[in-house]
Symmetry: C2
Subunit: 279 residues, 2 copies
Amino acid sequence: MTRLRAPLDLSLNLATVRRQWGLRDAVAAAARHGFAGVAPWREAVQEAGVAEAARVFTDSGLRVTGYCRGGLFAAAGREKLQDAIDDNRRMIDEAAAIGAEQIVVIGGGLPPGSRDLPAARALFLEGLAAVLPHARACRVPLALEPLHPMYAADRGCVTTLKEMLDIADALGNDGLGVAVDTYHVWWDPELAAQLARAGRRIIAHHICDWLVPTKHLLTDRGMMGDGVIDFPAIRAMIEAAGYGGIQEVEIFSEDWWSRPGDAVLATAVERFRTVCGTR
Amino acid sequence: MTRLRAPLDLSLNLATVRRQWGLRDAVAAAARHGFAGVAPWREAVQEAGVAEAARVFTDSGLRVTGYCRGGLFAAAGREKLQDAIDDNRRMIDEAAAIGAEQIVVIGGGLPPGSRDLPAARALFLEGLAAVLPHARACRVPLALEPLHPMYAADRGCVTTLKEMLDIADALGNDGLGVAVDTYHVWWDPELAAQLARAGRRIIAHHICDWLVPTKHLLTDRGMMGDGVIDFPAIRAMIEAAGYGGIQEVEIFSEDWWSRPGDAVLATAVERFRTVCGTR
């Protein structure tokens, strides 16, 4: 049976309700539904202003479990690498200012016109190495998130936990961890082995289901329980590896974006309680 | 520069023009455009009748480079495993009857209602072990094809070359090989290592491009050169591993299905010559 937890050990990634609410209303809704934290996206924080966003989070009493999303060092090509590095450093400052517990970092896609995935991965490593000292100095851990292979070309050239852990190893691990999103990793035949290897480097556990059929590569992600992902099995592996912390629900979905925000959050909370614990 | 080859070392997977032509016309078109072979799907062969299909292929003078597609042992669940095994044995007989050089074998999706991907993979191995003696007796090699991870739930629970090679190792390799489809494997960070490991077990090289954006998970695959896959790099790895054989173009695409068949084949031939050789 699923274990119930009180208070709710669940954070709301604000992209889940991005069409329903602006920053302040979304945070208030998260608090109202009993979430323990939120994870904002940079666009929304910058639109509100960093100082104002920080006030919203502080006033809510909620944790800021993550700040989305950094990295993407390869996406604009080598000639724009320094810009990406500078931008990531600014993002680290913003994360510190809003009290974010970590920054979610993704590989980014191929540079325009490129077909060289290994080169993109090398550029990601190079950019990451350049920003890491600033992240360490600001005490903002970078949560390296592998994305599903179907995003390799245009969002995340780094697609597996193994690669992200290899990168963390290469950079000495200090200030780095991995974000495990069920949607991105559930298919991986190496999942159990790589989660065990990750151990306490797991610093984020995102939840989202894989629907059958999936009608769109980006915006047809599923509410937990509506798809085929075995959440209890993955949670058990993550806990066995040493991470017993908060989960974060993040669903990109035209379907859920079209529903009333309170219905989305009530459903997410109910599914978290009934679907996402260990058995 | 791309090396040109004469005669054209290219086979046509008939799914590429499945909406334009029936079996006989598609085979005639392939011969007319200079293809050296075709790879038919089972439905079309059964519809024509196996004996009649065999005559069509023999009369054409073309090779039958593959017969699509077997495996799928997990998709109907354990209680239907014996049915799947029996059906695969019949398919081996059909392959022998039409002179197919190999059968393309895929994992198949999860059983109905299941969320247990490791169990589906175990069922695939079990079914494969059961049909392998018949394949060996009939001298019809089974080409194990990993599918892109986005098909893990509903088409191919085995998603990486590493897994397929592990399976081939577990079953002794005799009568088994792997089919490498660029569309399914291009993202894999282990691609170079696993192709080198595969060596002469590579018995099929399928070509198809990954479009950005990809608008549909199944039917928005790309003509070579229209997407982001580095065909020369992958071909070089495959040749270095020991496979210098025929390539097979297989494109599922609403776009290309909507065009005149002769235009599709002319384009495929032109792209094969200009995009798909080693540099």
